[in-house]
Amino acid sequence: MGGFHPPFSYTLTSYDLLIKLRTPYYMKCFYILVAILVLGSCGNNKNKDKTDFVESSPQTISIQQKIANLKNSRNKEVLVVAHRGDWRNAPENSLQAIQNCIDMGVDMVEIDVRETKDGELVVIHDRTIDRTTKGKGYVKDWTLDSLKTLNLVDGLGVETNHKIPTLEEALLLAKDKILVNLDKSYDIFDKCFEIIQRTDTNDQVVIKGVKTREEVEAEFGEYMDKVYFMPVIGLAQPNTKQIVDDYLTHRLPVAFEFIIPQDTIQLIGSFNEIRKKGASVWVNSLWPLHNAGHDDEKAALDPNIYEWYIDHDVDIIQTDRPQLLLDYLRSKNLHR
């Protein structure tokens, strides 16, 4: 934050004081010079402290490059995933929130999928529509048509002109532009997959689940080679090493998502090894319990917090502050 300077007012200017003391003329000149230098440098510091808001103009990264970066766990390029889209500047999970991510140069957008009463898939986070619209009730009790009559609200809870998108609308917007992580999709994946196929976006979609390899293969087998599946591994749980090793040996995933409550967990030291074997390492910077306290809110005060991810060989970061993270990574030459 840095800005809580004590309120400080002074009535005597430095010049007043100079005049009051009987010092020789040349000493006065010297003091005045010092004063100018000190005050001048003070002004400079202030400018440096100011956050720079020049939008970094991203080079457009083609979808092919984004896919290649996702698949390549060994290069130094770090993938940026925007949680629920750019929800600061448009309603979360709205088409505009996805479009903003595309414009910003974000690699992947994370969106949430739910099923309506009439079996359609829409993009919305909560089970109910209460928080993100002015309506009330469960998504599963609303038909798509009736949901489409509602407007999404902004971050103040005020209605906007944006609508709840269908999964199909979201995928068509993302197609050939940005990777998509479908959250909450695991249990309704048959339906999701139909839409993924219809929109021809297979190679852009990442699915995840807190499952062992055997579970996933049993439940999800037919899709394993058709979309990217990413196991989610909570590092506080037992047996994590076995689960990871089993995936690495029998079915190499495109990435692992690791939840890291504390720094002391041993597996953190093996991220580099995992990446060498061909799987990327995804860590969320969203909340402190995801990343041993190296979260976006701390980074908002000091972006160098993100260094922790680089030091620990993380190459995919899901964030609530995509612009801040992109600016940081670009400054370190870790993102285009």
């Binding site: 934050m1 800005g3 809580f4 300077h5 004590p6 309120p7 400080f8 007012s9 002074y10 200017t13 430095s14 004081l17 003391l21 010092t23 020789p24 000493m27 003091y31 010092v34 004063a35 000190v38 005050l39 440098s41 003070c42 002004g43 510091n45 202030k46 100011k50 956050t51 808001f53 629920r84 929800w87 600061r88 500047n89 979360e92 928080r131 993100t132 902004d154 971050g155 103040l156 809870g157 005020v158 906007t160 002109n161 969203l286 909340w287 402190p288 809110e297 908002a300 609530d320």
Partner: protein, 316 residues
């Protein structure tokens, strides 16, 4: 002897300068930024349009939180608008809704909770996500944070908590740095608050349920001669809209609220994203706005700068 004096003088200057550079007030040898902003409000000019940020930069940090206000200071916003409510035990805190339900992880009415109880809650971010460590700030904390850096526009005080708020301003030495506002008539305010009305900066609000806009302004001018009005208008044919030109002619500052359609006849922040800033912010300025309240402070400031409308430094 002379040498000693010289040494003492040198050392004391070093200490003094060290101190000065440490203090880093906004304007080393000039006036405070808040003083310059107030001058601009008192005599609006064509080369500067004020940027007023609604509930702080809530896209960056929770609405009505200290970080959201601090962010406005960093952006160079002139006035931050915050909502102030009274707790059960008589403390003024920043909270928009009557309840804490939407913006914190707690629940209940502000008026039925004590400050301590509210301090135990944590603010949610604009995505409704819990887990921030940020507490609900008191008005006193806000005034200590903003002092000399940014002016504060107090909403929800209206004709209800003027005395309580004034007490905090007195205590923090910021009576010249906060703008009260309200939609009550001058007769109501005068009767309720008497001479206190002459000690605060008060901005009457012309809103579409103001019965007789002309009379409303006339009465205020006669009784309090406010130097600023907040003017909202549903359409260009509304009486309120016509008042803008009249206020302009008298050199009275006009604040427009670009948040929602019915406050600016559709010339909103959102429109400036969809059709470009000329269609909304530009239109408002063209039609007499001296200041604009926005939910997009960064974009508004960029636009104003690009139009040469941020020349505060030239002011005497």
């Amino acid at each position: 002897m002379r040498n000693n004096i010289r040494k003492i003088a040198a050392v004391s200057f070093m200490i003094l300068f060290g101190f000065l550079s440490f203090a880093q007030t906004d304007n080393n040898l000039e006036e405070y930024r808040t003083t310059r902003i107030l001058k601009q409000i008192k005599s609006p000019s064509k080369d500067y349009v004020l940027a007023v940020s609604h509930r702080g930069d809530w896209r960056y940090a929770p609405e009505n939180s200290l970080p959201a206000i601090e962010r406005c200071i960093e952006l160079g916003v002139d006035i931050v608008e915050i909502d102030v409510r009274l707790t059960k035990d008589g403390h003024l805190i920043a909270m928009h809704d009557e309840t804490v339900n939407r913006t914190t992880n707690g629940s209940g009415k502000v008026s039925e909770l004590t400050l301590d109880e509210i301090r135990a809650f944590r603010l949610k971010n604009a995505c409704g996500i819990r887990g921030s460590k940020i507490q609900v700030p008191t008005l006193e904390e806000i005034m200590n944070l903003t002092r000399n850096k940014i002016m504060v526009n107090l909403d929800k005080v209206e004709g209800k908590t003027v005395k309580e708020a004034y007490r905090i301003l007195k205590k923090t030495g910021t009576t010249e740095q906060a703008i009260f506002k309200g939609r009550e008539t001058v007769q109501y305010m005068r009767q309720k608050y008497g001479s206190l009305m002459d000690s605060i900066i008060y901005m009457p609000i012309l809103i579409d349920n103001t019965g007789n806009a002309v009379q409303f302004v006339e009465d205020y001018d006669k009784e309090l001669s406010p130097f600023a009005y907040e003017v909202t208008f549903e359409s260009e044919s509304s009486e309120n809209f016509k008042q803008i030109a009249a206020l302009n002619r008298k050199g009275i500052f006009v604040l427009n609220i670009a948040l929602w359609d019915n406050l600016v006849a559709g010339h909103t922040d959102e429109l400036s994203l969809l059709q470009g800033p000329e269609a909304s912010w530009g239109w408002l300025i063209e039609n007499g706005a001296d200041g604009i309240m926005t939910d997009r402070p960064r974009e508004l400031l960029e636009y104003l700068k690009s139009k040469g409308l941020r020349n505060l430094n030239n002011k005497r």
